[in-house]
């Protein structure tokens, strides 16, 4: 019984003055998340349920990614947090500030310098190394949710690898629109077994999951699921022989800041006449490239 232990524990006075654990989460929470991370790595693409805790930021705002980061981070890690590819996005800044406050860990905007990168809806343009971990925030972890609202049923479908409904959905899409009309959250098959939701990253980023050097950990705080893609793993977008998977087409647009032609671009509407410019969604990459261009 824990009360006896608590009474015997000499440090309980500290706890009375609300002394938080390292990285905010208590050890019991971290242990559970850590156990689940290991299972997620061992079963690529499978969603592991976990007892997601409430965090000081709201559900839907990255509590899942945050719990992963707080469970794995150590004092020597260097953290980068991005949202839609940008370091300066208000939500990314908020999360970074919080982690720094409860760990003392250094923050960076330089992708190459970071050991842990927490991201919402984008994978950085620079390929990551074996020393880096990418933590992705996920709103809806269940790839089959648009086809089937019941969790009980989708769990059965994954258990039996009964993905016919998903293939049918794609097929009907093609019949209706002559193209697969899914934008982000494009379904992928992981390690020849589970169909997985890669989180709302653009199709542009899907290929970065395939045989990567780094580990990817996905977490949905509100839906309470952890899943992972280990390094060097087969990750294939669903496609048909005659309707192949296609990334976004920027039609030769160029980043107005760094001149890049091979990055995912944000479209910015300049004025009421609909004039548009484009700039790299990955702002850190763009800044580096712009600097190189100057030199």
């Amino acid at each position: 019984m824990h009360l006896k232990q608590w009474l015997n524990d000499e440090s309980h006075d500290d706890r009375l003055t609300a002394n938080y654990s390292f990285a905010f989460l208590d050890e019991g929470t971290k242990r559970e998340i850590r156990r689940k991370i290991l299972k997620a790595i061992a079963i690529p693409g499978y969603q592991v349920p976990f007892g997601s805790r409430e965090m000081p930021i709201a559900r839907g705002w990255g509590t899942g990614g945050l719990q992963i980061t707080l469970s794995i981070i150590g004092p020597r890690d260097i953290l980068k947090v991005i949202d839609q590819g940008a370091d300066d996005s208000v939500n990314a800044v908020n999360i970074g500030r919080f982690v720094n406050r409860v760990t003392g860990v250094s923050l960076t905007t330089d992708t190459a310098d970071a050991s842990i990168i927490q991201t919402r809806h984008r994978i950085p343009e620079e390929p990551l190394s074996e020393e880096q971990v990418l933590v992705l925030q996920v709103p809806i972890p269940e790839v089959l949710r648009t086809i089937e609202p019941s969790e009980k049923e989708t769990r059965r479908m994954h258990a039996e690898a009964d993905y016919s409904a998903m293939w049918l959905y794609l097929y009907e899409d093609i019949i209706k629109y002559r193209e697969i009309s899914i934008g982000s959250r494009y379904p992928v098959t992981v390690n020849h077994r589970y169909i997985m939701d890669p989180s709302p990253i653009p199709r542009w980023d899907i290929s970065k999951l395939q045989m990567a050097k780094n580990l990817f950990i996905f977490c949905a705080g509100r839906e309470k699921r952890i899943y992972a893609i280990p390094p060097y793993t087969e990750v294939r977008p669903l496609e048909f022989e005659d309707h192949k998977f296609r990334v976004e087409d920027f039609k030769g647009a160029v980043c107005s800041r760094c001149g890049s032609t091979n990055t995912y671009l944000d479209e910015i509407v300049e004025n009421e006449n609909g004039m548009r410019t484009y700039s790299c969604s990955d702002t850190a990459y763009c800044a580096k490239a712009a600097l190189r261009k100057q030199q």
């Binding site: 654990s21 390292f22 850590r34 299972k39 790595i41 150590g74 280990p230």
Partner: protein
């Protein structure tokens, strides 16, 4: 050790285990601290990191099982149960007498319920194409990985391979040697034996 120092130590141990599970067959030193070189203390470090009152464990092997169960239970508050129900199995001898085969491998809806086995062995070392006990391929491995393991019967690795023959059901393994090093084999790894 102050509570926060302990938390940081556990975090470092976990990162090493996570690294090892993500890159199967790679060998990692648990901590750079010289006092954590003995087999028991490495095992304890891993147990402290992963066990608690919300999961179950047991020790299988041929001697000293009850004592070790006692030690680990006191250390982590993790309840002891029988091998077929345990979330964690700790194997301290080269052979399990078939007990390893009773480990739970999960169910189709929840393959993550499959157990994690801690194999306490003598030594782990990188092997080569001409000199190996285990050859691994699969997620986390670029090409293949050759490993040498001392202190584990070949038959146990056959059992492991058998337990993992029905992916996604299976068990996941953490090997801990007497030099304070660890290596992991998740159920996704295809095991080939010499």
């Amino acid at each position: 050790m102050k509570p926060m120092d302990h938390e940081i130590q556990t975090q470092q141990v976990f990162r090493t285990i996570m690294r090892a599970m993500g890159y199967p067959g790679t060998i990692h030193r648990l901590l750079n601290h010289p006092s954590h070189k003995t087999r028991t203390s490495s095992l304890q470090l891993v147990a402290e990191t992963l066990f608690d009152q919300d999961v179950t464990f047991c020790v299988i092997g041929d001697q000293g099982m009850r004592e070790l169960e006692d030690i680990l239970h006191k250390l982590t508050n993790c309840p002891v149960t029988e091998p077929s129900l345990a979330d964690f199995l700790v194997m301290t001898s080269p052979a399990s007498g078939g007990k390893l085969l009773t480990a739970k491998t999960g169910i189709p809806e929840y393959p993550d319920h499959g157990a994690t086995v801690l194999f306490s062995v003598e030594s782990l070392a990188d092997g080569s194409a001409s000199d190996f006990l285990v050859r691994l391929t699969g997620p986390g491995i670029l090409g293949e990985k050759y490993i040498q393991i001392q202190g584990l019967d070949r038959e146990e690795l056959c059992h492991l391979r058998e337990l993992n023959s029905g992916y996604p059901l299976g068990i996941d393994s953490i090997f801990i040697d007497q030099q304070g090093c660890i290596m992991c084999i998740p159920r996704t790894a295809k095991i080939q034996l010499r």
